[in-house]
Symmetry: C2
DNA sequence: CCCTGAAACTTGATATATCAGATTTCAAAA
DNA sequence: TTTTGAAATCTGATATATCAAGTTTCAGGG
């Protein structure tokens, strides 16, 4: 069922406008990583001027970045008093719950809406994951993991849920590598991914949703201990 | 089990710092309402200077408010091109799914963590809801509805999930009044609320979670048709 | 008549200046 | 020694100015 939108097929040469990161985008990302990596510890007060000076920018983009972090819940703003970092294990735990909660309906929607193209992508990704798992190719597995979840997000056709779930990541590449280093974990994760994909391809929303939730909760808890220990 | 924090009990005279709304807080709230009420239609481009001028403020607090809206997904920022309103029925539908998804673990946590005080509050609120439902006291029902969900949020001890769910509201007081005007709906909603409260008080996370999800999905769809028709 | 491209204009992105609330300091009074 | 409160200071909140990317306009060449 081809769509005749009259739209020019996006040239592969075109630079997506969202790729050209703005200063505030950089700042937001930097601060976010500094917070979730613990470099800016919870409770830390952020002085707008000092911080802007250190980052060698003006306060305007910094303020904008801080407002984004505020909306994500990573910092708290005390009116007329300042910005305070708010991120600890219990917050991360809630992020896992939120991610699991949000990925569930996404998986269900994907199972309802997936088309042949999406099915093909998912199947192919699972096959590549199988190979990478057997080869214990960690870097590739990390990449494929994103491809996998990205394919599901795309198939779900959801915009808002997808954006929200993207905000629930509290670990970076190094934590991922630690997790994926464990072959047992990789095999388990692969079985889960396979089960999720099968449910979506078979058009079983309930099954897909349940499996996705279980997968995110289980692996999330693993990251939690990896990042916070205990 | 009294806590000896050494903290002065907050005087009832004290003005909570978060009550003193900042300019950007006002602006954010104003814009949010304008968007969800449809006064600023989806696709509408927002010119920062014009808008700031109309609102008789400078662009700085406006920009901050726009960043918050961006993080909530209500506007999209096209770098170097402008801010565009992004809110339609399908987005609202996703907000319902998100709200249902997020309220579920909150209800489960509440069932796990609720203490005697929380149980008492919930029970009392349900009793008041029963009375207000019988009396068809719409204004009171709307208020009690917030008390009810607020009590559950408090009992859950969650911070992040609670804040996220608060961002998933896409209707205002007038839509609520329309919904609550229907006596049948009120009775149904009451039964649902009662069932949720009972599950939480009985300490049944699964049951609480499932009932909460069903309730939010059902009533959410009602709001959807009320706001968007169809 | 259509294509090209440079100038004019629009507008978001960034920087800087100013204002005002909150905290701290410290000396004087109790 | 403790308390008080006013001045000094810090710092977020707001306003304004400047910069640069993107769009539009339109004259000139094909």
């Amino acid at each position: 069922m081809e769509e005749a939108t009259g739209q020019e097929p996006r040239s592969s040469l075109a630079i997506a406008p969202e790729a050209r990161q703005s200063l505030r985008g950089h700042v937001h990302q930097q601060l976010r990583m500094a917070i979730i990596s613990g470099r800016l510890p919870s409770g830390q007060r952020l002085n707008e001027r000092l911080l802007a000076e250190e980052m060698e920018i003006s306060t305007t983009p910094l303020k904008e970045a801080l407002r984004q972090l505020e909306a994500e819940g990573l910092v708290e703003v005390l009116p007329r008093r300042g910005v305070v970092v708010r991120f600890d294990a219990s917050f991360a735990e809630e992020m896992i719950l939120a991610r699991a909660a949000l990925e569930s309906p996404i998986a269900a929607l994907a199972a309802e809406r997936v088309d042949d193209d999406g099915r093909a992508r998912l199947g192919a990704t699972v096959q590549l994951m199988r190979e990478a798992t057997e080869a214990a190719d960690i870097a590739r597995l990390i990449l494929l993991n994103e491809t996998f979840h990205g394919a599901i997000h795309a198939a779900s056709g959801s915009r808002h849920l997808t954006r929200m779930v993207a905000q629930q990541q509290f670990y970076d590449g190094s934590a991922r590598r630690v997790i994926h280093r464990d072959a047992g974990e990789s095999r388990l994760a692969f079985e889960e991914h396979k089960g999720i994909a099968e449910a979506i391809i078979a058009g079983q929303p309930q099954e897909a949703s349940a499996r996705m939730s279980a997968h995110v909760l289980r692996s999330g808890r693993l990251y939690l201990t990896a990042v916070f220990g205990r």
